[in-house]
Symmetry: C2
Subunit: 215 residues, 2 copies
Amino acid sequence: MIHKLETGANRKVSESTVRRLTVYLHYLESLPEARAVSSDELAALVATTPAQVRKDLSFFGSFGTRGLGYSAAELIANLRKILGVGELWRICIVGAGKIGLALAQYPGFAGRGFTVTGVYDCDPAKIGQPWESLTIRNIDDLPKDAGKTPYDIGVIAVPSESGQDVANIMVEANIRAIMNFAPVQIVAPPHIVVRMVNMVLEFEALSFALTQRAE
Amino acid sequence: MIHKLETGANRKVSESTVRRLTVYLHYLESLPEARAVSSDELAALVATTPAQVRKDLSFFGSFGTRGLGYSAAELIANLRKILGVGELWRICIVGAGKIGLALAQYPGFAGRGFTVTGVYDCDPAKIGQPWESLTIRNIDDLPKDAGKTPYDIGVIAVPSESGQDVANIMVEANIRAIMNFAPVQIVAPPHIVVRMVNMVLEFEALSFALTQRAE
DNA sequence: GTGTGTGAACGACTTCACAGCC
DNA sequence: GGCTGTGAAGTCGTTCACACAC
């Protein structure tokens, strides 16, 4: 039973495959008992096709047993390794508003290795105030702090005008991945991973669907 | 200058096209002055290709002028009509936690026609409490309330165990679109539009990217 | 028999390139 | 000359179907 686990960048894996892998993992982890799971079963759980499941997994190795399916426990372990879930990711949030709080409270966020170890703001009224178990710090201190104990992921949760400024500070602080909640396109060097989340866009897609149906 | 504006379902428009249309709209609206915009310029703004911009728009009509580009004002008007942005969408949030609050506070959410007109919970301690300008109501009252003044979009912001129950109530209340923040797959009749947002999944995609780069 | 792993076929989305119009 | 609109070509992701392993 050879597990190649070629997590390397030798083959390019599509965005959608990664998305589904995370979903597979969540569903596998929600199974009550460790047992064998077929691609048919997994597909039904996450609303995709069995072939899709097998193809997605085959990018990273052969985790199943022909005639039997996949061992849930083994597949969980492999997916965690592939996705880097389980590693402790140190996160800093810039912008001490409700978005950051919602994130910290999001079910399964803290419990999955995503640990908020720093919160920053530029508002003097907020700096020094408590935030969950932390204290809100001055944004200007971010690079210095990161020099001592680095951050893996930076969360931009400030108004759009300041989004790029914050991103620049994060780059300066050697942060390698940015999750951007501000509704602006962020420009960053190519070695930095930037993802944008915009709630309004999600709702506008719903709005489009509703508009189409009405006619 | 004929604007076909075939917003109908005669041609199937891809998910990604809709996503980009919303982004185009946001950027156009952020332009300081009404003027002509070329597909080249729009593409640069939103990090895509000029051909992509033109193709996306061409699904819905011919909004530009050859040799000149697109009138920003006209394009904004058309995109708003296509996407249904500007219409007032009545939203109910079920689950009076931080996610709902973050949503209400999200920049540009309320100001774009998305109006939260009802908040529900099942926790007796929360029911009756004020929430923004509303009062938290009993989830059991949702279908009755919707009978009087219907909701367009329902937001599920409850723990995953209750997600499907809430969805069922929403279907009963004739809600046509559901935005699901609970980390469970929601089952609903096909005529209902369901979108799922899962922050943890977004972060795990970042985690994957970080893991890949490290090697 | 059962269910994986995977090349091959298919379909969907993107990019090209150029005709058409200003 | 400049830029849109769009069929055609190309690329990428998904589905099929079957050999292979248990």
